[in-house]
Amino acid sequence: MSQEQILSINNLTVEFGSELGTQTALHGISFVMQRGRTTAIVGESGSGKSVTAYSTLRLIEAPGRITAGEILFRPTGLPVFDILALRPDSDALYNLRGNQIAMIFQEPMTALSPVHTIGNQVMEAILTHRPVGKAEAFMQATDMLRRVGINNAAERMHQYPFEFSGGMRQRVVIAMALVCQPELLICDEPTTALDVTIQAEILALIRDLKDEFNSSVLFITHDLGVVAQIADDVVVMHQGRILESGSVRQVLKSPLHPYTRGLLGAMPGLPGLQPRRHDKARRLATVNDSQGTTDFGQHPLISLNDGRRVALPQAKIDEALKP
């Protein structure tokens, strides 16, 4: 793993047990994240995006289990280590969570405790990881709230989540995630629950703060429009497998895999096949309409010369690459 890579996921396999037997949520996925860049994971509901994110912080809980693989993490100036090899109660793991890697969640309405003040929750992140007193933590937290665009930050520290709008809460969650200046920020559909104008503001905020803090971002979404706005690299997932990965330009401009094409085709406003429906909520459900019920992704990923990877037989790749 080179210096430029901050995260390298190899053969990550996650299973969920149930009375009906085990279900594999991730079938040994592998990808790398370049330092300082934003990598997007895109895929429809249930494709395993969140499971990937949760695995990175070892947040998978029973009945889920990480059964194989490694997640190599290389913080700046420190030796690389395998997150999956850390003991569950080790200091290294608790230092990882929230300090080296932080996470922003999909639902700002429920991601904050309803009975603790905003200040309490943001300060907790600092007090957990930094040897500072309450007064200092309060200052840092207030400062961070100001930087994510919350007015009257000092006053609002004493308020409760229900006194904030959805967009404002998501700003609080972002502040909470960034307050320890993590090297890697994982965003699990941070804008899905927000309306479109707020969505754009939050995306801009994440982009700006990423540059300011020199972080790398793993950005999960099911919205290719968002990918186009924020990401440098993209990983396309489907049913626990990676079908295609590469730079945003490569994947969105000239997708090789029929599934990616389908995704693009189902997207109004992006080049590709004609959109069939404009209903935003149903966007991804239309993939099957344009692609039939093809069984994607049983094929292993093949790396191309230009750094792309795609899960297709060589013949199909050649065919797709033909101008």
Partner: protein, 327 residues
């Protein structure tokens, strides 16, 4: 907040007035009154009471006045702090009732604390180790506690207390100290006795509170805000206590007020078995002998406790949950 409490206190007045009317009617409802009830038992023992004597008694206690007049007399005295006169005990209700009410509240509070101290940690443990050995073990023990009748447990504990610790059976005090004025020795004696009723009354609630705590906590454990805190790197023990437990415990604290009346009336059988100087046995006697002022004033006091308890619940809930406080 103080405005809220004041409003609630004012709203209690009509509630209590209505309760007082219902209480009075209910007490008068069974056929006969204290005189005829006493008369019946006297006649059973073969005594003769002349009709003049009966009429004199009835007149003395104004039993022949219309109901409304009797009610008004009772309630006007009640609000002035005069709880009436117990015909059965031939004493003012005031001298009969307050000590007992005090001990009742004491036992109720002790039992409640006992229940919580036991049930809440176990509930937390069961939720965190769901389906583990401990979870099943405590479930079985809890259900046993629920299934064993209170009086039975009382008898067993009395036996244990006597044969192992030599504590005199039953009561709240040793006989030689029962009538003595308060002293540190008497207080120690109380501590030596109170644990039996505390455990007996407490175990009944333990099983259900344990299960409710477990269910509440399981609900909370999977909430997104818990995941958020985990992702922040908060350690497990702190995480569980600060977030899910804090929220799962709300319903208990906010229903303290409702528990008071059940704890007070629930101890009647136990008190009879354990011979405790509490309200339960006295209330039962008062109702059996239709001693209306005693019974009525008693029930009124319990009602006031209940209504105050509800107010207490609301205040606690508002203090605990900011979402309610600000509405």
């Amino acid at each position: 907040m103080s405005g809220f409490i004041l409003r609630r206190l004012l709203a209690m007045i009509p509630t209590l007035l209505i309760i007082s009317v219902i209480v009075f009617i209910l007490i008068q409802l069974p056929p006969g009154d204290i005189i005829s009830a006493t008369l019946a038992s006297l006649q059973q023992q073969g005594m003769e009471v002349s009709t003049e004597q009966i009429a004199a008694l009835r007149a003395q206690y104004n039993l022949d006045d219309p109901m409304v007049v009797q009610y008004l007399r009772w309630i006007t005295h009640f609000v002035q702090g005069d709880l009436g006169y117990s015909i059965k005990y031939q004493q003012p209700v005031n001298t009969l009732i307050w000590d007992r009410l005090g001990y009742t509240v004491l036992i109720a509070v002790a039992s409640l604390l006992f229940t919580w101290a036991l049930a809440i940690p176990i509930g937390i443990y069961s939720a965190v180790r769901q389906y583990g050995f401990g979870d099943y073990f405590f479930t079985v023990v809890g259900l046993l506690g629920l299934a064993i009748p209170n009086f039975m447990l009382a008898l067993i504990l009395m036996y244990c207390g006597y044969s192992w610790f030599g504590v005199s059976v039953g009561g709240l005090f040793s006989p030689e100290l029962a009538e003595a004025p308060w002293s540190s020795a008497k207080f120690m004696d109380l501590l030596k006795h109170i644990w039996i009723p505390m455990i007996v009354i407490g175990t009944a609630g333990t099983a259900s509170i344990m299960r409710v705590m477990r269910a509440n906590l399981l609900d909370e454990l999977s909430k997104p805000y818990v995941v958020t805190a985990r992702a922040k790197g908060v350690r497990p023990l702190k995480l569980i206590m600060k977030y899910p437990v804090r929220i799962a415990i709300n319903p208990f604290i906010s229903t303290i007020g409702w528990l008071l009346p059940t704890l007070i009336s629930g101890e009647a059988i136990v008190s009879i078995v354990l011979n405790l100087p509490t309200t339960g046995p006295l209330l039962l006697q008062a109702l059996l002998s239709q001693d209306m002022y005693l019974a009525g004033s008693f029930i009124m006091l319990l009602s006031i406790l209940t209504v105050l308890g509800m107010l207490l619940s609301d205040i606690l809930l508002a203090a605990l949950d900011p979402r309610i406080r600000y509405e």
